[in-house]
């Protein structure tokens, strides 16, 4: 029988906040890499 870890309310709240922040950072990185690639390809400096 596996005993599951039960998160406290504070832990759930902080985890949700961290997940949102991490999601935003990852989305930002996607845009950043896309922009860098387009600029590099545009200038022929790949």
């Amino acid at each position: 029988m596996i005993e599951l870890v039960k998160l406290t309310d504070a832990q759930k709240k902080s985890r949700r906040g961290r997940n949102i922040a991490l999601g935003l950072v990852l989305a930002g990185l996607v845009i950043l890499f896309y922009a860098i690639t387009i600029i590099k390809v545009g200038t022929g400096n790949v």
């Binding site: 870890v5 406290t8 504070a10 832990q11 985890r15 961290r18 949102i20 950043l32």
Partner: protein
Amino acid sequence: MTVIDNHEVLAKKGENGLSEASARDYFELLKPRVMSLVVFTAFAGLVLAPGHINPVLGLVAILCIAVGAGASGALNMWYDADIDAIMTRTAKRPIPAGRVSPSEALAFGLVLSGFSVTILGLAVNWLSAAILAFTIFFYAVVYTMWLKRSTPQNIVIGGAAGAFPPVIGWACVTGNVTIESVVLFLIIFLWTPAHFWALALFKMGDYEAVGVPMLPNVAGIPTTKNQIVAYAVLTAIIGVVPSFMGFASFGYGIVATVLGVIFVHCSISVWRMPDGDVKMMPAKKLFAFSIFYLFAIFSALLIDRLVAVLISAGAGGWL
């Protein structure tokens, strides 16, 4: 010297051992106030450098330099958690306050260091990435782990870490390190001791409690006052050098001279401070003015360049 050997005892977690750290706590690990100064001086290096950089790549460069500086701040907080817990100025930082565990801060700092250096190298150039990597290493290892707890000259040598951002900004545009960027480096490098020792004077008790050998604690207050005046004079002199070298105007030279005279005047007020002065108001004033001085000098350089660009654009329009 290590006040608390087991860093992990600082971490406060729930009964199940899982973190309660918020995203804001991680942001605090990046030392946002120091980061703002780094962003500003790196931006100045980027703008003052001769040549052109794509604005988006310029933005990426500033972002990478900011994140790299933040990463070194996180590594600093990881290593210094033991003394941060004792000093009043730093006791509320995320690790000593128990909101982030030391191992989480270490991983955070290392990952951000790797990302910032790699992206800067791939997007801009590898010279600037190499200087950023060296800066992170210098701050986290040479200053934090070695110099800070071993010599009263810690912030003199360690100040180099804070002086590199304009050099990185300059290298992003030119792919080179030139004498002009070294002058920008020297402005921050020579400014750091007067700035930090002013703080060390009125926070002597804190540094004494944790055994960090700051100059006032080791060499005494009179020696510190003498050295503050000496470095303030050197800072005032190097501040006007851009004007003499021709990469800033005569107008900038006047502004830098006025700021330098005030900086030296504040340092002389500290020098004249009576021995038994507990409040140390002149030292507090010098610390506050030193922050303004650096922002003002780099702002003046930026405005000077903007005016020069507008004048040349205007002249080009008429011809």
